[in-house]
């Protein structure tokens, strides 16, 4: 696999590491009992603790800890029995305490890995350095008043998991696949809602470039990207920027960058000299977090089947390709839908590949077109199963089935109903098909002559005409066979 990008002078390799911030799915905040509901009116979900009133103290939300442990298990990572909350000190208007409670030296989760799957069937492991728990900050609103900044503390104190990868990523696509995979795992685990638009999942990207085989170059960090599209754009832009500097003899300054989503460009936010000294130290208001092996064991038992396990199961049980299986398992709702469809009729188990295709191409494209989600698909898994069964038993052709699916999608009727009402059953009566073919042959004597003179390509023409005459209902294989027979007899 060639991951190099061409500069003016040299070929370059990108070296990318991601810090993903995933909001923990929890009804209340990491250290207070305030609600975490998204989109509530400003400052309506702020406790005395969240507002850092004098004398207020944080108390750990055990559920958030369980969620982090669960996530660690899902990332094949080491769970640390002992971890410590530290204070990360800096001033900002939306940081009421003047420090963020985070984990620095002793994170709750240590080294792990996730696997990403490529279309060509290969896969790659991305190593994870750590996962730690921390508080989110509030929000500064600069656009409400020309001379003032307003602060909304609803988000202040919400639990985040920061998942840090090793710099194992080499292309923007890999970065996209990696974050998709993390998102998928978190959603299977139900530890994060995965909603990137609402900011439940966002990433800081560390990127440097080097000539193949060289040491790592100086990196820049692009902050707070909240879509896979922006992540790829930002990486591409930033890599190009760095390459241009290096090829013109310059050197990279270690900067923290912001990505402008409308221009598609990155710009420096602060450089190394301006970098904060966060003065981390253990938060004296909180005891070290100790989790027993028993507790971890109990949490492990509650973990559902994860995408990779499910993927392997699908490959084994249904003989699917690695890629098909990974597409099916990327989102829990897809694998659930597939499971329900294929289990709706025992016959379907022998046609798994057809089931995959009908879900991931036909149904997905209809859902996309109509801006709908698989979760509220108008076509239920049972109904799709019924449709596929009609295809696999030759009752209708694949071509007609597409029309039937569209009808099912808009009318909500079952495949059976539609096929019966419209009389779409495939014609499998030899005599009836022969009759149609005879008619086509009789109507096109010139074409028959040309065909017999060696213009084999015309076979398609005859098939088309005959199919049209049968209103698409003729069994294609039978039609083909009989047509060939009849034409060859003329010879």
């Amino acid at each position: 696999m060639n991951n190099l990008i061409k500069g003016e002078k040299y070929d370059w390799e990108m070296v990318i590491g991601l810090e993903i911030h995933a909001q923990v799915k929890s009804n209340s905040k990491l250290f207070s009992s305030s609600s975490t509901k998204f989109g509530s009116s400003p400052n309506s979900q702020v406790s005395l603790v969240d507002a850092a009133m004098p004398g207020m103290l944080p108390v750990i939300n055990k559920y958030c800890v369980e969620q982090a442990v669960k996530t660690g298990v899902g990332l094949n990572a080491k769970i640390n029995n002992y971890s410590v909350f530290d204070r990360k000190n800096y001033f900002y208007a939306d940081l009421p305490q003047g420090y963020q409670i985070s984990q620095y030296k002793y994170p709750i989760v240590g080294e792990g890995k996730v696997t990403i799957d490529f279309k060509d069937g290969t896969s790659k492991d991305i190593r994870i350095v750590r996962l730690h728990l921390e508080q989110d900050a509030g929000k500064s609103l600069h656009d409400q008043n020309p001379s003032k900044t307003y602060v909304d503390l609803n988000r202040s104190g919400v639990a985040l998991m920061e998942i840090v990868s090793e710099p194992d990523i080499r292309t923007p696509d890999e970065a996209g696949m990696y974050i998709s995979k993390i998102r998928s795992i978190l959603m299977y685990l139900d530890t994060c809602d995965g909603n990137m638009q609402e900011g439940s999942l966002r990433a800081d990207v560390n990127i440097s470039v080097r000539k193949p085989g060289d040491e790592y170059g100086t990196r820049c960090e692009i902050k707070n990207l909240n879509s896979i599209k922006f992540i790829k754009q930002a990486i591409n832009y930033e890599a190009k920027r760095q390459i241009e500097i290096l090829e013109s003899g310059g050197s990279i300054e270690q900067n923290t960058m912001l990505f402008n989503t409308s221009t598609g460009k990155t710009r420096p936010m602060r450089n190394k000299e301006e970098a904060h000294d966060y003065r981390y130290f253990p938060d004296p208001d909180l005891l070290p977090l100790e989790i027993s092996k028993e507790e971890i064991g109990k949490i492990k038992l509650s973990i559902p089947e994860l995408p990779d396990e499910l993927k392997n199961k699908f490959i084994e049980t249904y003989k699917l390709s690695n890629y098909d299986a990974s597409v099916l398992t990327a989102e829990k709702q897809t694998s659930d839908y597939f499971n329900e469809t294929i289990n709706s009729d025992p016959e379907l188990k022998n046609h798994a590949k057809i089931v995959v295709n009908w879900i991931t191409s036909e149904l997905f494209s209809l859902l996309n077109k109509n801006n709908q989600d698989l979760n509220n698909s108008p076509v239920s898994p049972e109904n799709l199963g019924q449709l596929i069964k009609l295809i696999s038993t030759n009752e209708i052709s694949g071509k007609i089935a597409k029309d039937v699916l569209e009808d099912m999608f808009s009318s909500g009727k079952t495949a059976r109903q539609i096929v019966d009402e419209k009389g779409l059953q495939q014609v499998t009566d030899q005599g009836e098909i022969a009759k149609v073919i005879d008619e086509v042959i009789a109507e096109n004597p010139k074409m028959v002559e040309q065909y017999l003179a060696g213009k084999d390509k015309l076979l398609g023409f005859f098939v088309g005409q005959a199919m049209k005459l049968s209103k698409g209902k003729a069994n294609p294989k039978m039609l083909n066979d009989i047509l060939k027979q009849k034409l060859n007899k003329k010879n």
Binding site: G55, P96, Y99, R279, Y280, P284
Partner: protein, 474 residues
């Protein structure tokens, strides 16, 4: 000294010898008379009368019903403003009641006012308050003395008999040292015995609420009232709180007292050494075994304390930024300017000094040499005590290296001021309970204090030893 006592007053109230109203009017009168001491940051007669009215309507029996209590102005209170003696919290009115003060309210006590302290409890003389010095009630005319600090207002309130008890907080000696200076009893319990919830933080790993009172019995009654587990404070301890008063036992026969040799330091006035020896003699007479012990890391306690406490303070005080509540400077052209001017104008010199020290010791490049090392030494100091307590039941030392000093002394010499904490800081670092009781006088007839330290959560032993010494002294 007044002969007031909470124990006696509770009896008098019970036998209707005196009414709650009479009692409090007596105290109100005295508070107004002693206005010149500047004991209170907040005092409102109207507020006290309102509490009285409400209590008189309340028919339920309550342990401290009608007892006038003074509250250090570091405890957040709903009915009175809370300033931490800082301009930055001037006019701050909490919407919540601290755990400790809520317990006192639940017991039916009356809050006479919020007492003065060193700004954010940083000081040893109650002279860093934005609201001016408090004067030690034992001062002679024209020779004002410091009441000690940081809980100098509370200590003075008890000494001047402006209340029957007061709350304080002790981070490195802020209850014990002013108790010693003002000739009253002051107990700092084990770290974790009283919830810190609702107390403006100075140094979270050291701050602990406690009690000032006229005598040991009263302290034992009041401490029981403010102690207890609180799930809102993760460092609060889940321990049973005994009835210290009922269990008081002045018979120390067969007990062992530890006398740490490291507490004999050069330059300690003779009078201090003498009361220490006197106390040991008294104990010996009572059948207590005297055990010379060693706490070898004692000499590192002060520097350790003055790294850890400012480090935590520098972070704890970051929330006072002018954004959400409290003082905000008028001179603002940018966010940074708001921080700079608000904090420059809102904090006093000593607070700023400690924020600077704390910021420095936590900085990249210095953290290991200062903060991390201090944490390690802290552990060694705690280990010293753990070892010592295998050989003794309690430890006796002087409380402070001097009697109350003149108000303006040491004002400009922070190191001298910090040395006041030399005997109290080690127990704070180890989280141990300690009490200071008046025991003897210096040549100027000023009270001196003896400190009794106990094992973790063994406040009962501390009280027993204290009451025994107190009774023998009287």
């Amino acid at each position: 000294m007044s002969k007031s006592s909470l124990k006696q007053t509770l009896k008098d109230l019970d036998t209707k010898k005196i009414s709650i109203r009479e009692l409090n009017q007596d105290y109100l009168k005295r508070i107004k008379e002693k206005d010149n001491l500047n004991v209170f940051i907040h005092f409102s007669e109207e507020n006290v009368l309102k509490q009285l009215d409400n209590l008189e309507k309340d028919n339920s029996a309550k342990k401290l019903k009608g007892i006038p209590i003074a509250i250090k102005d570091l405890f957040c209170t709903k009915s009175m403003p809370t300033t931490a003696a800082s301009k930055i919290l001037e006019n701050f009115n909490p919407t919540y009641e601290s755990f400790v003060t809520q317990k006192l309210l639940d017991e039916g006590s009356i809050f006479v006012g919020k007492t003065n302290l060193d700004e954010f409890a940083m000081g040893s003389a109650t002279n860093t308050s934005f609201f001016g010095n408090t004067i030690n009630p034992l001062s002679k005319e024209n020779e004002p003395l410091a009441p000690g600090g940081s809980s100098g207002g509370s200590a003075a309130a008890v000494a001047a008999d402006l209340c029957l008890g007061a709350t304080g907080t002790d981070t490195g000696g802020s209850i014990r040292q002013p108790a010693s200076f003002c000739g009253v009893v002051g107990i700092k319990p084990t770290y974790g015995l009283c919830s810190r919830w609702g107390i403006a933080a100075f140094a979270s790993s050291l701050d602990q609420a406690g009690i000032f009172s006229h005598n040991v019995e009263d302290a034992s009654i009041l401490l029981q009232s403010i102690a207890g587990f609180d799930q809102r404070d993760s460092t609060s301890a889940k321990v049973d709180i005994p009835n210290y008063f009922e269990n008081l036992d002045d018979d120390l026969n067969g007990k062992t007292v530890g006398i740490p040799k490291e507490y004999s330091i050069d330059g300690t006035p003779m009078e201090i050494s003498k009361i220490w020896e006197d106390a040991i003699k008294v104990l010996e007479k009572k059948g207590v075994k005297i055990k010379n012990i060693s706490l070898p890391h004692t000499k590192y306690a002060l520097p350790t304390y003055y790294i850890i406490a400012p480090a935590e303070a520098s972070s704890n005080l970051a929330r006072y930024d002018g954004v959400k509540y409290g003082f905000r400077s008028d001179e603002i052209n940018s966010l940074d300017e708001m921080y700079e001017n608000t904090r420059a104008q809102g904090f006093g010199r000593e607070v700023k000094r400690r924020i600077l020290i704390g910021t420095y010791v936590l900085s990249a490049g210095y953290y290991d040499a200062y903060y991390l090392k201090a944490q390690k030494v802290r552990k060694l100091i705690a280990d010293d005590f753990n070892k010592a307590f295998k050989e003794c039941d309690f430890i006796v030392t002087p409380t402070a290296p001097s009697a109350a000093f003149p108000l303006n002394e040491k004002q400009n010499d922070p190191i001298k001021m910090y040395l006041n904490d030399v005997f109290t800081v080690p127990a704070s670092l180890a989280g141990l309970p300690g009490i200071s009781i008046p025991f003897g006088k210096d040549k100027n007839n000023l009270p001196l204090g003896i400190q009794i330290l106990g094992k973790h959560f063994d406040e009962q032993q501390v009280f027993n030893a204290a009451v025994s010494l107190e009774r023998s002294y009287e």
